[in-house]
């Protein structure tokens, strides 16, 4: 017969026991973080979660039930490399979970079952700085003392990581996967692109047009009229540069060819008068300059260099528009060239912008590929990214969504992929280069 002086399960008795347990957990426990899983994408039929996000972490006291540690032989070497099989048994207060964590996660989208701790969620265990996955939640131990259960026992094992996003904003938690999973390294360069141009040689082209009188009263650039060359030749084209209301310089756009005498230069309209210039012609000078690659991110006109001529080396100046070189105008077409000179154009700003932040999303400016930042080595401009969607292209700018950082992807040959220290893909590939003969192609990879 039961003791009649006790109620064997009144709410006050149950609350007393719960309070005593809560107090003990606070005294003897460890502060862990409970990290609920958000289920973003699930497959039907073959039921599996293929996209999970862990972006909330709640500290809660837990008693380490496996007081002897993780057990013996927690690291094993398998054909898939070293596996840590650490297991952990944690006891948390049922009341604390229901009154503290449940209200916080019940309204978070894509979170299943907020009223109890659940399998598949993560536990951050600060002793050892590890992430555990809840394998099983035992809710009936001890068995209905005073007709109620007061704790949950979480049976956990170290998390197996693939490409889940862990972004709780708590550095100690998030950095656990910094070197885990498939990580691609992008070799970045400054955002500028150096322009490229070429030219050819002509005989009897205009070499220079020197202003002898700037005139006055010009409100816009006067038109430059240049007399025609001998039959079969090509007339030169030039443009005037104004300083205040006078002509300061005449720049040649096309030198023409077939001139046997210095052509006459005339200034037409522009609202002013009095400007005059004299021209000279050359043999073995350059013609117009063709821009092969206009470059990008020029903030000022770069220097234009030419191969030295045995006669007179050409001189030119660049016009920059929207960060690119729109035109290269000739100041002196040079003379005495036997072969067309090589044109060397100065570099634009080759620095990047900003500093990428860990875990921020970066997006490719052309490919729209996206990824999350794992690390950023600014001195060497190496950006490690994971959770990569799409293919980043060489030459595009990688933009940080939070930091606003911008750098351009450099040579793809220098890029390399890493996943874990277990990975040997690149070594196998390199060794095979010398011994395999894929006359057509390797259907499985690149050789």
């Amino acid at each position: 017969m039961l003791n009649p002086f006790f109620q064997q399960g009144s709410i006050t008795e149950q609350s007393l026991v719960q309070d005593l347990i809560n107090e003990q957990l606070r005294m003897y426990g460890v502060e862990i973080h409970y990290i609920p899983r958000r289920y973003l994408t699930e497959k039907t039929i073959i039921k599996e979660v293929i996209e999970s996000v862990f972006d909330n972490a709640y500290p809660i006291e837990a008693y380490v039930n496996s007081y002897e540690g993780y057990g013996d032989n927690t690291s094993i070497l398998s054909k898939f490399g070293i596996q840590s099989t650490n297991e952990l048994s944690l006891i948390i207060s049922r009341e604390r979970f229901e009154t503290y964590i449940t209200p916080l996660i019940s309204n978070i989208p894509n979170t299943k079952l907020s009223f109890r701790p659940k399998e598949g969620d993560l536990i951050y265990f600060p002793l050892g700085d590890r992430l555990f996955e809840v394998k099983y939640v035992e809710h009936e131990q001890p068995f209905y003392q005073l007709q109620k259960t007061y704790v949950y026992e979480l049976k956990c094992e170290l998390f197996r990581y693939e490409d889940e996003i862990i972004d709780t904003s708590i550095e100690q938690i998030d950095d656990n996967i910094q070197k885990e999973g498939y990580i691609q390294t992008l070799n970045l360069v400054g955002i500028g692109i150096t322009a490229e141009a070429s030219t050819s040689l002509v005989s009897g082209g205009v070499r220079t047009i020197k202003v002898t009188n700037g005139g006055s009263g010009y409100s816009s650039s006067p038109i430059i009229a240049i007399s025609t060359p001998s039959p079969g030749g090509l007339v030169a084209i030039a443009t005037a540069i104004l300083r205040n209301d006078t002509v300061s310089e005449v720049q040649i756009i096309r030198t023409g060819y077939g001139y046997t005498t210095n052509p006459v230069v005339t200034f037409i309209s522009g609202g002013g008068k009095g400007a005059s210039a004299i021209s000279s012609i050359s043999s073995g000078g350059i013609s117009n300059i063709l821009i092969g690659n206009a470059g990008a991110f020029y903030t000022s006109p770069p220097t234009i260099g030419f191969t030295t001529s045995p006669g007179n080396t050409a001189i030119a100046t660049a016009i920059v528009s929207n960060g690119s070189i729109s035109q290269i105008r000739i100041l002196d077409s040079g003379s005495g060239y036997v072969n067309p000179p090589t044109i060397t154009i100065g570099n634009p700003s080759l620095t990047g912008v900003g500093t990428y932040i860990y875990n921020e999303v970066v997006v490719g400016s052309i490919s729209s590929a996206s990824a999350k930042v794992r690390s950023w080595d600014k001195p060497y401009r190496k950006l490690e990214i994971a959770t990569i969607a799409g293919d980043f292209k060489v030459g595009e700018i990688v933009v940080g969504s939070q930091s606003g950082a911008m750098y351009r992807i450099g040579d793809t040959n220098n890029n390399y992929d890493i996943t874990t220290p277990y990975t040997d893909n690149d070594n196998i590939e390199n060794e095979a280069d010398n011994i395999l003969d894929f006359t057509e192609r390797n259907p499985f990879g690149i050789v």
């Binding site: 650490n86 170290l158 693939e162 196998i428 060794e431």
Partner: protein
């Protein structure tokens, strides 16, 4: 009895097998098709030294997670002789050994089957099916891999990699304290060849071929003899005969030399490694019409080397060369003795 040799054929076959699977990717997509992530599946040769694995994979002892998935591992699990591909043990073939540029007589290799296991471990079945479906279509049931088994003699062999069977393990049943383990194991047979040591001595190249002809089956004496010997078309002994006195451009077919008297028409000369056929000489003898072979620019003062019969002795395997032919009619009633290497009376 056995001298040291090691062609690394087994190792090369292991590497060749691994290469097949080193660029497999899996993609995760949302239900609307938007890509979530792409993962290049890590691959490694499974067996390794334990301490090395510990140092490389757990350098700081504390692994924050158990492991990362997916992963693929392969290993060599057996070697068996393949009698179906056996050839005569005395059969040989000749190849040029690049280490000493000599022709070597190589004995036929021994056919061996290498048994490989490729194991794939993934976190989800979705990942596993993606990986397997990218592999299987290429094996019908074999895929031929061309491997340079011996680099010295440039010996390439097609090694069929045969997919024998697939074992699927998905331990999803049981209590919740045991994790699901999803591992597929693919077994392959690589039909490779093992070569013995290469001979150190050269079998040389054939420098002279003589064909004797006779009329009538009962007539033992030869009546006609046809002989072919190699004829050098480039200079080997650097016998500087003269020098060119004007630059020779790419499209120039006339060479001006300081002394053309020692150059004959219908012979070969060499200038800076370019061989030229002398077509004719001018009246003065110092301007020579040539037929260019691989025209390059030659500067004034370059040496002109004569290609003579002396150079015939220096022809190496893989060189380009021509032939000297001679034909003679013989009525001396003799026959050629292969043992004495001379003509003897009947």
């Amino acid at each position: 009895m056995f001298g040291y040799f090691y062609h690394e054929i087994l190792r090369k076959t292991v590497i060749g097998f691994g290469t097949l699977f080193n660029e497999i990717n899996i993609k995760h997509k949302k239900t609307n098709g938007t890509e979530i992530s792409t993962i290049k599946v890590p691959l490694s040769y499974g067996p390794t030294q334990k301490f090395l694995a510990r140092l490389e994979q757990s350098p700081n002892l504390n692994q924050p997670v158990q492991m990362t998935l997916p992963r693929m591992s392969f290993e060599l699990t057996g070697l068996t002789y393949d009698p179906a591909r056996k050839v005569s043990t005395t059969q040989t073939f000749n190849e040029v050994d690049s280490s000493d540029n000599k022709v070597k007589k190589v004995y036929m290799p021994v056919p061996y089957n290498m048994i490989f296991e490729l194991s794939v471990m993934t976190k989800t079945n979705d990942d596993m099916l993606q990986i397997i479906e990218q592999i299987l279509p290429y094996f019908q049931p074999n895929y031929n891999l061309t491997i340079k088994l011996i680099s010295n003699i440039n010996e390439k062999r097609d090694i069929p990699i045969v997919l024998d069977n697939i074992t699927m393990q998905d331990t999803y049943e049981g209590n919740f304290t045991t994790r699901r383990s999803l591992i597929y194991t693919l077994r392959f047979t690589a039909k490779t060849y093992l070569f013995g040591p290469l001979p150190t001595d050269s079998s040389g190249i054939i420098k002279k071929v003589t064909v004797d002809s006779r009329i009538g089956l009962d007539n033992p004496s030869r009546q006609m003899r046809y002989t072919v010997t190699p004829k050098a078309t480039q200079d080997y002994n650097n016998d500087i005969a003269t020098y060119i006195t004007e630059d020779l451009s790419i499209d120039d077919n006339y060479v001006t030399v300081s002394d053309g008297s020692i150059i004959s028409a219908n012979t070969y000369i060499t200038i800076n490694d370019e061989s030229m056929f002398v077509k004719s000489k001018s009246n003065t003898g110092n301007k020579i019409a040539v037929e260019r072979t691989q025209p390059v620019l030659h500067s004034s003062g370059s040496a002109v080397n004569l290609v003579t019969t002396v150079d015939n002795n220096f022809i190496e395997p893989d060189d380009d060369f021509g032939f000297n032919e001679s034909m003679s009619f013989l009525d001396d009633l003799k026959q050629y003795s292969t043992s004495l290497n001379e003509d003897i009376d009947l």
